[in-house]
Symmetry: C2
Subunit: 209 residues, 2 copies
DNA sequence: GCAAAAAGTCACCATACGGTGACCAGCCCC
DNA sequence: GGGGCTGGTCACCGTATGGTGACTTTTTGC
């Protein structure tokens, strides 16, 4: 047998385990905790291997960053076409919000981007930006373009930013701007307000008819 | 001379310097950097004093947290009453956005809340929540209440969350949801979209007349 | 079969951290 | 003056980090 490596002493498998451990640590303990020792410990491997295989933490992060789609399981609920661009966005926002609130790992990655900790940031946010872009483009393909005179990208960005921020605050502080984010009814109100805001996407002008 | 303490060996002054140093470190290096050693070094003081005067890091944070209004120089532009609740909120949001974008220390504190690093979070966010609450209440006092049927707190929270998040992303990654946050025209678009969204605050119902 | 290369492990270094105890140096008051 | 008291400093401990060199064990190629 020439090509199949025996189960032990397999470089590729070990490198994979290291990358996986890095993602795990990032998701579980946050960006600040991602270090050579912690990752090696998580992987059950000597940290020396990280230096050998990836040239250090930076290389590891770069390698791991490329694999981070795991946190945006897109939930492509494309099964039926929405009535309008705005209602499509509304549904997408609700889906995204639910996904984010139920996914601590995703929130950790989100927070990591903001903290600006280390070189992980740019690779992570680049990957995420691409995913979000693809996502919105897909929606536009399904529902047609928003009406002219409406700056859909700007409004979408605002809604997404709000969702990200509120989900982050739910986990970090449990409150925001006087709202108790631990109560389910607060989230119902926020969801409704979010949905109402998407109505702006379907008007030719914000001022009304 | 009975009451004036000599320039050295003044407990109150030293304690003040320590608190000041803590705030400086927090604003300059972020929440993760706030530690006994770093603060003592910044204050030019032995860390032992931190334990003696504040009982440790937690006490210090608590003492410093109470003083943190510095980053929300409120810019109380109350000089003239706005036409409606919505336009008042719009102006307030614009002011807040400008303040936040121009104040790196404020952003650091904001990010600190999200990172959930250490015990600083809860005191900080509590102080901030109180300030924001006072702020919005003041506005309501000047412009009257929003029309019924509009969930103003929820929408305000969404707008504030979006502003926070976008300002944070400008500093951390320079982009969000496909928008280039380094270009001034992007911010003009966002400001306009934000302003448009505040129009929802003046309608009795989001669905139109 | 055997040597070389590769995979994995161990021991160590310098540094920094949070935390604690002992030690000086002024001040106040009896 | 001579205790106390208190503000301030120094030295140290245990632990954890990032990083490096030397070592052993396995796999591979000839």
């Amino acid at each position: 047998m020439s090509k199949l490596p025996s189960p032990k002493r397999d470089r590729e498998a070990t490198a994979r385990r290291i990358v996986e451990a890095a993602k795990t640590v990032l998701a579980r303990d946050g960006a600040a905790a991602v270090g050579v020792n912690a990752v090696a410990r998580e992987a059950g491997v000597d940290k020396q291997l990280i230096y050998r295989y990836f040239g250090g933490l930076d290389g590891l992060i770069e390698a791991a960053g490329g694999e981070i789609d795991f946190w945006l399981t897109p939930a492509d609920d494309a099964h039926e076409a929405p009535k309008s661009y705005g209602t499509g966005v509304a549904r997408l926002m609700r889906t995204y919000l639910a996904e984010l609130r139920g996914n601590p790992s995703a929130r950790r990655v989100l927070a990591a981007e903001l903290s600006g900790a280390g070189p992980a940031v740019k690779t992570l946010s680049a990957a995420r930006a691409k995913a979000v872009g693809r996502w919105l483009a897909g929606l536009r393909g399904r529902t047609g373009n928003p009406p002219p005179g409406v700056d859909a990208p700007a409004l979408n960005a605002i809604l997404l930013a709000a969702i990200d921020h509120l989900a982050l605050h739910e986990a970090a502080t449990g409150a925001f701007a006087g709202l108790d984010l631990k109560k389910p009814e607060t989230w119902a109100r926020l969801e409704k307000a979010l949905t109402d805001a998407t109505a702006l996407l379907d008007r030719p002008r914000a001022g009304g008819p």
